[in-house]
Amino acid sequence: MADTGGEQTISSYIQHHLTNATVGEGFWTFHIDTLAWSIVLGFVFILSFRSVAKKATTGVPGKWQASVELIVEFVNDTVKSTYHGKSKLIAPLALTIFVWVLLMNLMDLIPVDFLPWIAGQIGYYGFGVDPHDIYMKVVPTTDVNMTFALSIGVFVLMIYYSVKIKGFGGFMKELYAHPFNTPWLYWFNFILEVVSLLAKPLSLSLRLFGNLYAGELIFILIAGTLGLWQLPIHFLWAAFHLLIIPLQAFIFMMLTIVYLSLASEEH
């Protein structure tokens, strides 16, 4: 009895942590926690970088400017080594994706109960709501809507660059004439190429989502099941996760650049 009761609490605890705060119904549901945190972090990114951009000096840079320039130059080098066309969009796009995704992933390192607990307290004392009814998922990249928004943006740009550089005919030709260049296999090529084209944004978003969701889930599991032992285990998992966080941000940025450079190259 006690076991089932305990399991129930753990599963409801996990359930509680994996549920978004929502507004609206059906398709017109908004995950306000995802939206709020991602937009706040987006503003953290653009405003902190903007502060450097506004007073960027060509002389000796300050410490903050130097660290921002480090990131900018890293992204710039990555873009230059991969994308050979001329585009004013690719590099800022890559920078935005890298820093924004990195910041959102870093939310994973905040102790899992900390922000939801604060939200619960505010809800309880400020609005008289039961803290169990207040949901708060603080890592926006554990929400498929977030990762799909990024990958769909990239997908649209892929199609835009393909059509812009190769023309609509060239883009279509790439879809049906690619692996087997014989007319009676065009239908087969088309299916193959469309699948591989659609797989790109799908894998892009699901990779980020999967990694972060799994990481968050394990934090929640550790927090929910291990009692006091969670402290060293949390530390170990956080140390390991510290590798995954920038890696996933980098992979997302890198693949964006690769897909866009593939889209803008003639074959």
Partner: protein, 156 residues
């Protein structure tokens, strides 16, 4: 894992952030970085040029120093040569002067000797005449014997 309108909101946020970054964040930062890189490259080139200039100047300076030393040595050599010739000339001149002075002395002494001889001759002639006069006072007329006296004078 449910797709809903959050996606649209995030898409709009994404587009806005990328647009803002492209418009107001990326260009000034990358511009500053590239300008600084250019500056550093220029500075390095300038320093390299300066180093080369310095090297050239050093080579030039050593060359000039060598030349100056050679010139100085030449001048000293010339001065030495000139000095020795002057000494030689002066010695030569002194010798000739001495010779001249000695010769003059000799000739003077010779002239004095001759004059004295002449004087002595005159005096001896007069003395002889006076002696002969004394001896022959009584029997010989001076005028008649003067040719003998003249003969005597000439023999002296």
């Amino acid at each position: 894992m449910n797709i809903n309108a959050t996606l649209l909101g995030e898409l709009i946020a994404f587009i806005f952030f990328v647009w803002f970054c492209m418009k107001y964040v990326w260009p000034p930062i990358i511009g500053a970085i590239e300008e600084r890189q250019q500056k550093i490259a220029d500075g390095l080139a300038a320093s390299e040029r300066g180093e080369k200039d310095l090297e050239l100047a050093q080579v030039k300076a050593t060359d000039q120093l060598k030349e100056a030393k050679a010139q100085a040595a030449e001048i000293i050599e010339q001065a030495k040569k000139r000095g020795s010739t002057i000494v030689e000339e002066e010695t030569l001149r002194g010798h000739s002067e001495r010779e001249k002075i000695i010769a003059q002395g000799y000739s003077e002494v010779e002239a004095e000797k001759n004059r004295t001889k002449e004087e002595l001759r005159q005096k001896v002639a007069a003395l002889a005449i006076a002696g002969a006069e004394k001896i022959l006072e009584r029997e010989i007329d001076a005028a008649a014997q003067s040719d003998i006296v003249a003969k005597l004078v000439a023999e002296l």
